[in-house]
């Protein structure tokens, strides 16, 4: 079941559009409106809010890129299989 979910997710990610969407989403997330939300000097377990926002968000985005690369490899192998008669 997990493998199916994974495949589905990877298939979705192959769309060129989803790349652009994430890219623009990233730009939005790093600009004024969202920054302003987290732009307070509160702390979360002693760690400042903005600090957490940046680093956690960063980590998530790295993970998303990682998923994208998996999707690329997936489509790459699929294309190889398709080419072989």
């Amino acid at each position: 079941m997990l493998k199916q979910l994974r495949l589905k997710l990877l298939n979705r990610l192959q769309l060129r559009e989803s790349w652009i969407i994430f890219f623009i989403f990233g730009i939005i997330l790093l600009n004024f409106p969202f920054l302003h939300i987290f732009n307070k000097s509160d702390t979360l377990f002693g760690i400042p809010l903005l600090f957490t926002y940046f680093f956690v968000g960063w980590g998530i985005s790295i993970f998303i890129i990682y998923l994208f690369t998996l999707a690329i490899e997936n489509s790459g192998t699929k294309q190889m299989e398709r080419r072989q008669p």
């Binding site: 903005l50 960063w58 790295i62 990682y66 690329i72």
Partner: protein, 1083 residues
């Protein structure tokens, strides 16, 4: 302290040696073919050269002064990694295809190999990178001073009487230059890949990461108790600073605060456009697939290296209590808290960061200098034997120049800025390349003038608004200019142009420079047109991914007017890249191409050779210079590029002929659809080909029914059918080849091909090139061949032309198939018609026969007092072989008979007619039944034997006065009598052979008394042999039973009832055999 100095120098030297070792090892591994650099992790680490000592020290400084917004400088590249799969991959493919050596190469190539554009990019890169290099020099010298405790500005060397004092900065610069040269300019490589350099840079990136992370971990977990501890403590100590540093402030109070968007934008362009980034990501890339891993590994690297920056900054603030020298907290904190080893680690990290940047940057910019500044000058001179040496030394000189320019900037402006800001000046500079780059890759209309104008305006803006003011404090620019604008024009104030005040200088510069840059780029690209060369490049660039699918050989529309040998090309190349390199390259190129003894290549291969020479030289001197070199060389040889008349006899230099091709296809389709006559189609089509394409001879051959190729249409010099000795028959092997492979066969130069196959007569008829195109529809076998010949142009059959001819052949194949199908259908139709006609005629004849036969049978039974008679015959086919008759002799005698000829065909019916004819006279002679039969037999014997038929007959005479029935039987079914009171029927039998077996037969005569109420039934074997579905016969018993139920009915009704009974019994509509019934009722 001298100890500190000696220790530091020692460690530095050891570290440097380590780097050298690694570089040497990597180089050695590459030479032996087992490269260690060829993997995605090294690739990623090499991209991490983005993090210079700017990241190492500058980020900490920025974090301590303006706060957490330093992170945005690294978030930008991380975000940019999303686009690498498309953007970077495309750039890498284009660069590999064209042997690009630097970013100036790429931009210049895209805009029509413009030397000016390349030179512009180079100059601006040199200017723009000066602050960057200055930054590195500053950090190394400062960190060196800090860690060694050596604070003097110069080193005194004493040697006897001499005392030289050398500023330590210069020493450092010199050392850096020498490193860079050793790593990057040992020889004039033709691919610009330096595995040693990359290995060194990758190692340094690793050291950077370990160092900063190490210092960070130390400070966070040893000096303090973890992340939260630092934050909490800092908050307690400096609460206002805490909220200021850990949030992003929108208030632009000083030049140090940069809005997030500006930082994001600048860092995103920097990661792609900094010369060192471009070099490392594109030029040094070995395998496209490495990008996949790098896309997430590089952001991960940035993540890790930035994780501890904030803690270090805060800790520094806690320890030192002020932001003075905040840039060097990473060093100072360990030093001040008494951990010199950690400080040394930090020092090494910073050193790595700086050295990596300087090496790569200087090497790549020096390449650009060589290709676009020095080469255009050198190219004007004829190549001499010492050119390779000149070139390599020019490159080394370039490296020196760049690094010293950086040092120069450092001297002037180094102490005025924080590190980060110096880096930002560089970032703003390279952002000016962004419009031209993106436009070049994605916008077809982007043209050279636009790019030049855009970049120039962008740079002027940058220079005026950022670069000059940075030097203002040192007398380069008068303070009044800064405050009031030049000549007092306040609108042109460098830091607030056109009245845009209130912005920090970075956003201000970014806005105006992008405004002018992008604006002029777009305007010029729209207003002005591109030239030929540019348009070629556009197709190459923007169509590059799709071009992967086109594998076929690429032939030129131009050719050299005078042949040049390979040896001459080799000599030219060796003048620039050295003899052994040139030899290697040529050997690799020749490979499987066909050359003759003198080193000549076939005429149209020469242009490919020229392109190859350009490409190889481009690796060393840049694309534009290579083009210029080869062109000047050829013109020296007296050979020019001529334009070949293309297939439409119009001079074209690009392959844009789609409209004419469309017209041709349309015309051909008209010809084909105008008529159904195949011969006319073929003739007209050949006529059209000859006229339109200026071919000289064309033939169509088609396969006939025996699968042999026959010439169906021949148009050329004469219209007579071609004789056996015609030169065309030499082409037979090609025709066979085409028939077997179903692929077009082209000979673009008969002189060349004649060396493999005999083509004497063909050449004697002055045929220069020919092509054989199979006529086929997709996926089917070929129907024939179109053969075309030219007497004037060799190399005529280019890829496009062949494509066009093939499509025409396809249309012809369709026409041929259709015409053949129509023929076949016609034939079928006539055949069917004839068959129908024949059938109708036969049916009509049969119906006539049926009518006649019915008329031969008695229409009604005769009337005789005391008896009732009836009879009926229903045949299985049109005509049958059954017969019955009544003859009234006199008032009280009647003859009845029933007969059956074998079969139920027309033959049987004819015999039956004959029987009837023979019977009539017999009857009048008042013979007995057996006598009649005997007479019939002897008369019919001959005919029956000839026809191979037999007759069964039952003849009876009834005398109503006596009530006596006398009868004879010739093998016929026994008639049945149903008598009242009797359980079963009486069968009448008499001995006798069937008629037609022996010429003379004696028949037995019997008689029986009939009483009132008897019903006599004569039948033929069709009744008794009627089978039902189970295969059961109707049988005598059933007949008898049925008769018993009906004996009270009138004769005709009895007969009808029997017929329906049989129909019910068999379950079929028609009878399997003729059934005749005669009924005699005694009333």
């Amino acid at each position: 302290m001298n100890n500190g100095l000696a220790q530091t120098v020692l460690i530095t030297t050891l570290y440097t040696l380590l780097i050298f070792l690694i570089a040497w090892y990597a180089h050695h591994r590459k030479e032996t073919g087992r490269s260690i650099v060829d993997n995605p992790y090294i690739y990623t680490l090499s991209i991490a050269v983005y993090c210079t000592s700017w990241t190492f020290y500058g980020s900490v400084g920025k974090a301590a002064t303006t706060g957490i917004d330093f992170l945005l400088m690294h978030l930008g590249p991380s975000l940019m990694a999303f686009s690498w799969f498309f953007l970077l991959r495309r750039i890498i493919r284009i660069s590999k295809d064209n042997n690009i050596t630097s970013i100036a190469d790429l931009i210049s190539l895209r805009y029509g190999r413009s030397l000016w554009l390349g030179a512009l990019v180079t100059v601006f890169s040199v200017l723009g990178i000066m602050p960057g290099i200055a930054l590195q020099i500053k950090t190394v010298s400062t960190s060196f001073h800090l860690i060694s405790g050596f604070s003097a500005d110069s080193i005194r060397l004493s040697r006897g009487a001499y005392m030289v004092s050398v500023p330590s900065g210069i020493l450092l610069t010199l050392i850096l230059s020498i490193f860079s040269i050793i790593f990057g300019a040992r020889k004039l490589a033709s691919s610009e890949r330096h595995e040693g350099l990359i290995a060194a840079v990758a190692f340094e990136s690793l050291v950077k990461l370990i160092s900063l992370a190490g210092v960070g971990i130390f400070i966070t977990y040893f000096l303090h108790n973890g992340f939260s501890d630092i934050f909490i403590r800092f908050r307690e100590a400096h609460p206002t600073d805490f909220s200021r540093l850990l949030t992003i402030n929108a208030i632009h109070t000083s030049a140090d605060v940069i809005p997030p968007f500006t930082m994001l934008f600048l860092s995103m362009s920097a990661i792609m456009l900094l010369p060192r980034q471009f070099h490392v990501m594109v030029i040094e890339n070995i395998n496209e697939n490495h990008i996949n891993k790098a896309m997430w590994l590089f952001p991960l690297y940035l993540f890790l290296i930035n994780l501890f920056v904030m803690p270090i900054a805060l800790s520094g603030l806690l320890v030192t209590g002020s932001t003075a020298n905040a840039d060097f907290f990473a060093l100072n904190v360990p030093l001040l808290t008494g951990h010199p080893a950690i400080a040394m680690l930090a020092y090494l990290g910073g050193l790595s960061a700086a050295a990596g940047m300087v090496m790569v940057e200087s090497v790549t910019i020096s390449t650009m200098l060589l290709n676009y500044i020095f080469m255009p000058v050198i190219v004007r001179f004829t190549p001499r034997i010492w050119f390779p040496y000149l070139l390599i030394n020019l490159k080394r000189f370039g490296i020196f120049l760049i690094i010293f320019l950086g040092y120069f900037y450092y001297l002037i402006a180094g102490n005025a800025f924080t590190l980060v800001n110096m880096g930002m000046i560089s970032f703003s500079a390279v952002t000016q390349f962004m419009p031209a780059m993106l436009g070049g890759l994605y916008w077809r209309r982007g043209n050279r003038i636009g790019a030049i104008t855009g970049i120039s305006l962008g740079f002027i803006t940058w220079f005026y608004t950022l670069f000059l003011p940075s030097l203002a404090k040192f007398g380069w620019l008068q303070a009044s200019v800064l405050d009031n604008g030049p000549f007092g024009i306040s609108l042109l104030k460098p830091t607030a142009m056109f009245g845009l005040s209130g912005m920090d200088p970075w956003s201000h510069t970014l806005f105006w420079s992008m405004f002018f840059n992008v604006g002029s780029y777009i305007i010029c690209s729209i207003i002005l047109r591109q030239d030929e060369q540019e348009r070629d490049q556009v197709t190459k660039f923007i169509g590059t991914i799709e071009a992967e699918h086109r594998h076929r050989y690429h032939t030129e529309a131009r050719r050299l007017s005078k042949p040049v040998t390979i040896a001459q090309f080799a000599t030219l190349m060796s003048k620039f890249i050295g003899e052994s390199e040139a030899r290697q390259a040529i050997a690799g190129y020749i490979g499987d191409r066909y050359i003759d003894a003198a080193g000549n290549v076939s005429e149209f291969e020469l242009t490919n050779l020229k392109r190859f020479a350009e490409k190889t030289l481009a690796g060393s001197v840049g694309a534009a210079a290579a083009g210029a070199i080869v062109d000047s060389f050829l013109s020296d040889m007296g050979s020019r590029m001529e334009l070949v008349y293309d297939i439409f006899s119009t001079v074209r230099t690009s392959l844009d002929q789609s409209r004419e091709a469309l017209f041709v296809r349309l015309k051909a389709s008209e010809i084909i659809n105008r008529t159904l006559d195949l011969q006319i189609i073929m003739d007209d089509l050949l006529d059209f080909l000859l006229k339109e394409f200026k071919l000289d001879i064309a033939l169509i051959l088609l396969r006939d029914a025996d699968d042999k190729l026959i010439i169906k249409s021949y148009h050329g010099s004469s219209h007579n059918p071609i004789p056996e000795s015609h030169w065309f028959y030499e082409s037979k092997p090609f025709c066979d080849e085409v028939s077997t492979t179903n692929k077009t066969y082209v000979i673009n130069d008969t002189a060349l091909a004649s060396q493999a196959i005999e083509l004497n007569r063909t050449i004697a008829s002055s045929i220069v090139s020919c092509a054989y195109i199979p006529i086929l529809r997709e996926g089917e076998a070929s129907l024939g061949i179109i053969a075309v010949f030219s007497k004037t142009i060799s190399g005529l059959f280019a890829e496009e032309f062949i494509g066009l001819l093939e499509s025409l052949a396809g249309q012809l194949a369709q026409a041929i198939t259709i015409s053949r199908e129509i023929e076949a259908k016609e034939q079928e139709r006539t055949q069917k018609e004839q068959a129908l006609l024949l059938n109708a005629r036969i049916n009509r004849d049969m119906e006539i026969a049926q009518q006649i036969q019915i008329s031969l049978l008695p229409s009604t039974a005769p009337e005789l007092f005391g008896i009732e008679m009836g009879g009926r015959c229903i045949s299985a086919a049109h005509v049958g072989g059954d017969y019955y008759d009544f003859f009234l002799r006199d008032d009280h005698t009647v003859d009845l008979l029933i007969a059956d000829v074998s079969g139920h065909s027309v033959g049987a019916a004819l015999i039956m007619a004959e029987v009837r004819t023979l019977l009539r006279p017999q009857v009048n002679v008042a013979h007995s039944a057996c006598a009649i039969l005997k007479s019939l037999n002897s008369q019919l014997y001959d005919d029956l034997t000839r026809a191979e038929l037999f007759i069964t007959m039952f003849y009876a005479k009834y005398n109503s006065a006596t009530g006596r029935l006398s009868y004879a039987n010739a093998g016929h079914n026994h008639p049945l009598i149903c008598r009242e009171g009797e359980a079963s029927c009486i069968e009448l039998d008499a001995e006798g052979l069937i008629i037609g077996v022996k010429p003379s037969v004696i028949f037995e005569e019997c008689c029986i008394e009939l009483i009132k109420g008897d019903v006599l039934l004569f039948y033929t074997d069709g009744l008794i042999e009627a089978t039902n579905r189970e295969g059961e016969l109707f049988g005598a018993q059933r007949i008898c039973n049925h008769l018993k139920t009906l004996h009270h009915l009138p004769a005709q009704d009895i007969i009808d009832s029997f017929y329906s009974a049989v129909t019910t019994y068999t379950g079929l509509e028609a009878f399997q055999d003729d059934i005749s019934l005669v009924v005699l009722k005694i009333l």
